[in-house]
Assembly symmetry: C2
Homo-oligomer: 254 residues x 2
């Protein structure tokens, strides 16, 4: 029996700007009696990464451009919020009532450039950007784990994105270190010796979706998950999460 | 600690047309010493479902229409194969060298209408269609499990699809029974009492991606997976996998 085990760590509080996620993880592992092993993967919710990196922006500091004002009128969002979204974006993919989908400057196509405004409802005018370089955030945590725990693990920074054709959000890998986020299986054969029909597997996104199931989806519910039992081949080389981004000109589905 | 456990059952052989998947599962559970519990989910790879339902088609029986011949010339595939794909499709989304993406009559946007041609390379001219009604296939297996094992479980029929914007395939739910494939979280609040930012979660797809990780992605490697530890709320009501399909006219991303 092949077995995969996902353990979401309890007891992780609100993350403050400047707080080191490596230390938060180390404490949470101890608190939950979890020992990391080689070839485990640690999945971390984007939001705690952004908070530790102090990716807050104050809407009061923003002066919307005419383009932000125009789009805000169409989608019905705060023009200062739209301004922050546009600063994070290279293109607007779709703008309509309640909807603002962009290509983030990191390459991801995502609603509102992933800029979180969930604080606004309670009078806090800070919004939260995605991490500046999620692959680098993942790599920093991986290096910390290797140094502190003496094990070689993968790290995935997860988020939840909507997508074309299908309803509902799913987990995606925003950042990845220490494993192949995109696994090229060309040349591999199945047990009948035939070449595999499927040649590229988005391992990072599948790991993120699995982790999101146990994070409970609630913002910051259980933001760190330890995944054990992935096939060793996943760790044959490193592919950052940027490998998962299909450049617009190569898109097969559009 | 919240924990999710995925166990892929070993020892499942090639599935023959007419073979009952419920019996295959029952035997495999015994062989692997796995006992199903209420609120477990059984994930089953599409290919074994299609085989048990004898969804084979002989290319020799097909006479391509002029449209199939024309598209075959563009994408460089066998015109009889393209004919079978078109019979399963309502629209062609994209046709270019090596690429034929359609909207399947079940609603999914998928390469080659999910018609598998991996046998062709070894001289077998049979192709394999998706199950005729994957939600019904899932429900039949769920009913069998309830009757035979006395437990109330979810069933997900999984496949691997490519997608817009991102590289690599991920697991998706083709069929679903006994749980909410699409979970509506409107009105729910996080632990600070704020309304959740994300309101619809594609639980079925996330479960399929998690299961695919342990199926080993290889065709028929380990086609049945038992998933334990999902939140009980996932089973508050039933949503078939068709609930995950976004009608083209409502698509936000395109």
């Amino acid at each position: 029996m092949a077995e995969l085990r996902l353990r979401a760590l309890r007891g992780i509080g609100e993350i403050r700007p400047g707080e080191r996620l490596g230390e938060v993880l180390t404490d949470a592992l101890r608190h939950n009696d979890v020992v990391l092993r080689d070839h485990d993967v640690v999945a971390v919710c984007q939001k705690v990464v952004s908070k530790s990196e102090n990716r807050y922006r104050e809407l009061a500091d923003e002066t919307p451009t005419p383009k932000a004002v125009e789009l805000a009128a169409i989608c019905g969002k705060d023009a200062r919020y739209v301004e922050v979204v546009l600063q994070q974006a290279t293109d607007v993919v779709r703008c309509s009532r309640g909807v603002l989908i962009v290509r983030h400057k990191l390459g991801f196509v995502v609603a509102n450039a992933g800029v979180d405004q969930s604080n606004i409802e309670r009078g806090d005018e800070r919004v939260l950007l995605l991490p500046e370089d999620p692959d680098a955030s993942a790599e920093r945590l991986r290096v910390h784990i290797e140094a502190r725990h003496g094990v070689s693990v993968g790290v995935v920074v997860t988020d939840s994105f909507g997508r074309a054709w299908r309803k509902g959000v799913i987990g995606v890998a925003l950042g990845c270190a220490g494993l192949q986020s995109l696994r090229d299986r060309r040349g591999e054969r199945d047990r009948q010796g035939r070449e595999l029909r499927i040649t590229e597997v988005a391992l990072g996104d599948q790991i993120a979706s699995a982790a999101t199931l146990v994070m409970g989806e609630a913002d910051e519910g259980l933001p760190m998950v330890v995944i054990s039992g992935l096939a060793a081949e996943a760790f044959d080389g490193h592919e950052p999460a940027t490998a998962l981004i299909r450049p617009a000109r190569e898109d097969l589905f559009l």
